[in-house]
């Protein structure tokens, strides 16, 4: 669910982040307390890093895009019309950075996200099988059009509703549904080709 804080709000350890509103933090930063921006960074880095990594296909590019998004958001903070919805605003900046980074990199240079810690923690028969499956998924994801990939991630990974997705992306609900539908169909074809499911 997309709240005023954005996507799922947990820090890296899974603990809930303290209850101070985005608008309060934004006001403090605009008042000159730059250090307070660290609250917003801690609040949004984890969920948005996942989105960026899935969009771009590797953690390094995701970190760069996310850092760039945070810096640009800070630079334009005074233009954030609704500070209570800093999260969605930041997300729009990040989505644009991902599109720019994806277009710049092109489609030849595709790598996969490998989170070894997550793999080890995962309940799977064999880590090698799990890793191969994750790589195939990421590869299939990267073969989708950027718009379809973004829509699929927002709908099925971040579990947003279509109205929320429309608010975030500025794209109409019908178009988003079409993108998700085609993304699912394409993923089904690509991954069934691999696993014959």
């Amino acid at each position: 669910m997309l709240t005023s804080r954005g996507l799922h709000l947990q820090n890296d350890s899974g603990a809930a982040i303290e209850d101070v509103s985005d608008s309060e933090v934004v006001a403090r930063v605009l008042a000159g307390e730059t250090a307070a921006y660290a609250i917003l960074v801690a609040r949004y880095r984890a969920p948005y890093a996942r989105f960026a990594a899935r969009m771009l296909g590797n953690r390094e590019d995701a970190e760069e895009a996310l850092q760039d998004a945070f810096v640009r958001a800070h630079r334009s903070l005074a233009k954030c019309d609704d500070p209570e919805r800093f999260g969605p605003w930041l997300f729009r900046i990040l989505a644009n950075r991902c599109r720019t980074a994806g277009a710049r990199r092109g489609r030849r240079d595709k790598t996969f996200v490998r989170d070894e810690i997550a793999l080890l923690e995962a309940a799977h028969d064999h880590p090698a099988d799990r890793q191969a499956w994750q790589e195939e998924i990421q590869l299939a994801l990267l073969q989708l059009d950027d718009d379809q990939r973004e829509a699929f991630l927002l709908k099925h990974v971040e579990e947003l509703g279509y109205e929320e997705m429309a608010t975030l992306t500025g794209v109409g609900v019908s178009a988003l549904k079409m993108r998700v539908k085609r993304a699912c169909e394409r993923l089904r074809v690509l991954l069934h080709e691999v696993y014959g499911g």
Binding site: N11, V25, A31, A35, A42, L77, A78, I137, R188
Partner: protein
Amino acid sequence: MVAEIERDEFIDAIAAELREPVRLGADFDARVMAALDTSVIPLHGARELPERPWLLRKRTLRVSPLAGLAAAAALLVAVSLGAYRVATRTAPEMIASASPIELTPVADRGDGLAAELPVPATPFVYENPDAKSVSVVGAFNDWDPTRTPLTRVSDSVWTATVPLMAGRHEYQFVIDGVRQIPDPAAAETVPTEFGDINAVIVVSRGRR
């Protein structure tokens, strides 16, 4: 209108894999904070500057080309005289008249030189909701826990900015004045001769 896709096990399985967390570099927060351009955020109240006194108000002066040339020549003479005076003063005179600029302690580079100015605002960020106080210690402040306290900016986030020289700096956080730990988010740590661990921060020339 396209009908909403029915969720099925196959798509759910894909989505579940994609929901696995992606871990950022441990120093991600510090890198973001270091990259912020603080000059773009006005200080408190800066948006509503009081009107300047009459003497300090900006004015537009209209000067004819001839008068402009004369003014430029006068300025050139003044600057030349000033440069001559400075060049002929002795070193003690210069030191005695220098503004009392006090530099924050600089990094121990091992060669006794301190030719570079410290890089401003190297941020330290630490998360601990239970701490009553946090400070950072390192060679840059003689490992003195009273000199560089972190400020609590939320229930769990503590920050401080410290001018540091370019180079490697070992440091620890001091929690509640008694417990000394390496930065858990540090990208690098090193064992010390005392058997504990120091965090390492690398400050590049300009920005980290």
